[in-house]
């Protein structure tokens, strides 16, 4: 084997070793092909790069004084792309915002469910209940969900204190939480909450 051949074979081995190192593993994302098409130029809420040196090696715009992949708005609090709605603003929706404060349970109890019970509403209510409530309150509302057992303090819907609670009360508790339960308003929309209420009513009466 002369020198040329040795260099050639070494080159082959090196390429193979390099290529096998391209695969993503653990903390390493792997080699990106055409990375400028991978990283978003506009601000993205869920993929935001706060490190200014990221992508310096292929910076297409040196005037902006940061790497190609940097993707954070310096004018936002903590550079976060995700924003909370402006205070006092209201989402345009079918339902007016619910303004009854947390401690006014008695007032809330008088609120009437805008939905009528139908098979469709109840089926949707059950599906939503299984997603958002079941792990604590249990499939039948006995307070015996897998999380509820560890969490402690989950009542049974059929207990004497709860079985006659009106729909407005249940809606209020989902919205603001009560006792140990936290507010679920950020997870479940107003309409979905009213559907859950309809289904919980059937569990109270079983």
């Amino acid at each position: 084997m002369n020198h040329n051949q040795t260099i050639k074979s070494l080159f082959l081995v090196a390429t193979v070793a390099f290529l096998t190192g391209c695969a993503a593993k653990d903390d390493y994302t792997g080699v990106e092909y055409a990375p400028q098409m991978y990283h978003s130029t506009p601000y993205e809420p869920l993929s935001q790069i706060t490190d200014k040196s990221q992508g310096e090696w292929l910076d297409s715009n040196p005037e902006d004084e940061h790497g190609e992949f940097y993707n954070s708005n310096p004018y936002n609090r903590k550079g976060m792309t995700m924003r909370e709605p402006v205070a006092g603003t209201v989402k345009r929706a079918k339902y007016a915002p619910y303004r009854i404060p947390k401690d006014s349970l008695e007032m809330a109890a008088k609120v009437v469910n805008p939905l009528k019970a139908s098979d469709e509403v109840l089926a949707k209510g059950k599906a939503l209940y299984d997603r958002y409530c079941e792990h604590c309150h249990g499939g039948k509302g006995k307070g015996d969900g897998l999380v509820g057992k560890v969490f402690k303090g989950v009542p049974s819907y059929t207990s004497d204190a709860i079985k006659n609670k009106p729909e407005g009360h249940i809606f209020h508790v989902i919205t603001h939480g009560k006792g140990r339960m936290g507010s679920h308003a950020s997870q479940v929309s107003v309409e979905d909450r009213w559907k859950i209420v309809k289904y919980v009513q059937t569990l109270q009466k079983q």
């Binding site: 193979v16 290529l19 993503a24 991978y38 897998l146 969490f151 402690k152 004497d160 204190a161 140990r180």
Partner: protein, 440 residues
């Protein structure tokens, strides 16, 4: 003879004695034979409470139905632990009144009630108008009948030790089997070698062998010559080149594919515990999955729905508290909050569009189809390759979920007219392979 007889007799006596001894030991240790300490319990019963099983059962029913949401027998939950309340409260009458209408008792300025109210973060106890002395006494009787739990420390340590040794034993077992196998194989090799030796010697000593056979017997294997022969070198080079080509091509296919990417997260959140062990629905935390393009990383308020009370001591949970400036001692939130910087695992290139709600809410796909067995992942990794070929392949093979979806009525009808009634409508038939579906 005589001597022998006596020795047998003593033996018999001895066994009887040991039997008796063992029996008495058994009787003392066994609760069946031990005397029930009924008399003691009855003597220790607080006034007005009953040890009658019927009363206790009734009390248990009321307690589990109404009280467990805030009270436990031996443990402070939201309200105080109820064991011994008959000694702590000012009077039995006070307990009856408090259960009936706690607000009234607190408002009357009763010092013990006000003290309790302030101690338990001003949480008001629900009023139970229907419960009179009989019901309250039944509940108290039940509470009195519940034994305090064993200190859990001893159980957990023995548990840990047990599992530790068992896994070790398992590991040792496999290695032992492997070593034995290797030893046996080596022995067989040696025995075979010896046999070959013996046979060759025997054949060499024989004189009536044909010439050809003699050649075979006296043949010497020249390893050096074998390995330098052209054929063998050719085969070796072919194998090496083929392997490197294969590795090279495989390597090229991993460029831009982040399958198996498994980054460490700032908080060691385990999907195995949350989604697997506790069966919390994916939707509970990933609230965007049915409404939006992204499934969303849950905000800390969703963590706090449970972790305001669960595992508050854990150092990982402490990281959440720090991020949202929550003080678990006082239960108050401060202003000094800081976002948790989770590491995104599924980095779909910006050049491709993907929408979760379209796939989960409309097509009703399971999360596991693309994300793998999330319920078994302690640390989540990218399960699917997320390549274009992977997307396209699924769009070619999957039938459109048209059931109960009015949007598709016309499309289904048109599809039937053009392709005949039997051919299923795949995603590709309604434009699932169009470039601009995902790239624009």
């Amino acid at each position: 003879m005589n001597e022998k007889k006596t020795s047998i007799m003593t033996k018999v006596k001895f066994t009887r004695l040991t039997f008796l001894l063992l029996f008495t030991l058994f009787a003392v240790n066994n609760p069946l034979f031990a005397q029930a300490p009924d008399g003691d319990a009855a003597a220790a019963l607080p006034a007005g409470l009953s040890a009658d099983p019927a009363v206790i059962a009734k009390g248990k029913e009321i307690f589990t139905g109404n009280c467990t949401s805030c009270h436990a027998v031996h443990e402070k939950v939201i309200g105080p632990a109820l064991f011994g309340v008959w000694d702590r409260a000012p009077s039995r009458e006070w307990i009856y009144n408090f259960v009936k209408n706690s607000t009234k008792v607190i408002k009357s300025g009763d010092p013990y009630a006000v003290k309790l109210y302030n101690e338990y973060k001003k949480t008001q106890m629900t009023s139970f108008q229907n419960y009179g002395p009989a019901e309250v006494d039944a509940v108290l009787s039940y509470i009195n009948s519940v034994k305090p739990p064993e200190p859990p420390t001893t159980i957990s340590t023995t548990d840990g030790g047990g599992t530790g040794t068992s896994t070790q034993a398992d590991g040792g077992y496999t290695t032992a089997i492997l070593t034995i196998l290797i030893i046996v194989l080596v022995l067989i090799l040696i025995v075979l070698g010896l046999m070959v030796n013996v046979l060759t010697k025997f054949l060499q000593d024989k004189e009536d062998l044909a010439e050809e056979d003699k050649e075979v017997v006296n043949q010497k294997s020249d390893l050096g010559k074998f390995f330098t022969s052209n054929g063998v070198i050719g085969i070796f080079i072919f194998i090496i080149v083929a392997l490197s080509m294969k590795a090279g091509i495989d390597g090229l296919f991993t460029v831009g594919v982040q399958q198996n990417y498994q980054p460490r997260q700032p908080i060691a959140f385990s999907h195995e515990i949350h989604a697997g062990q506790y069966e919390i629905d994916c939707n509970y935390c990933h609230t965007g999955v049915r409404k939006a393009k992204s499934a969303n990383i849950p905000s800390a308020n969703i963590c706090m729905n449970c972790h305001s009370a669960i595992k508050t001591e854990s150092p990982e949970i402490a990281k959440i508290y720090k991020a949202i400036d929550f003080d678990p001692e006082t239960g108050e939130y401060g202003e000094n909050t800081k976002p948790i910087e989770w590491v995104r695992i599924h980095n779909l290139p910006d050049l491709a569009y993907f929408n979760h709600s379209q796939h989960v809410e409309v097509a009703k796909l399971e999360c596991e189809t693309c994300h793998g067995e999330i319920k078994e992942m302690e640390v989540v990794y990218q399960y699917a390759p997320l390549t274009m070929g992977w997307c396209i392949n699924c769009h070619r093979e999957t039938d459109v979920n048209t059931k109960g979806n009015g949007y598709y009525t016309k499309l289904v009808q048109l599809h039937k007219e053009s392709k005949g009634g039997k051919t299923p409508m795949k995603v590709e038939d309604i434009g699932g392979l169009e470039c601009s579906k995902c790239h624009y």
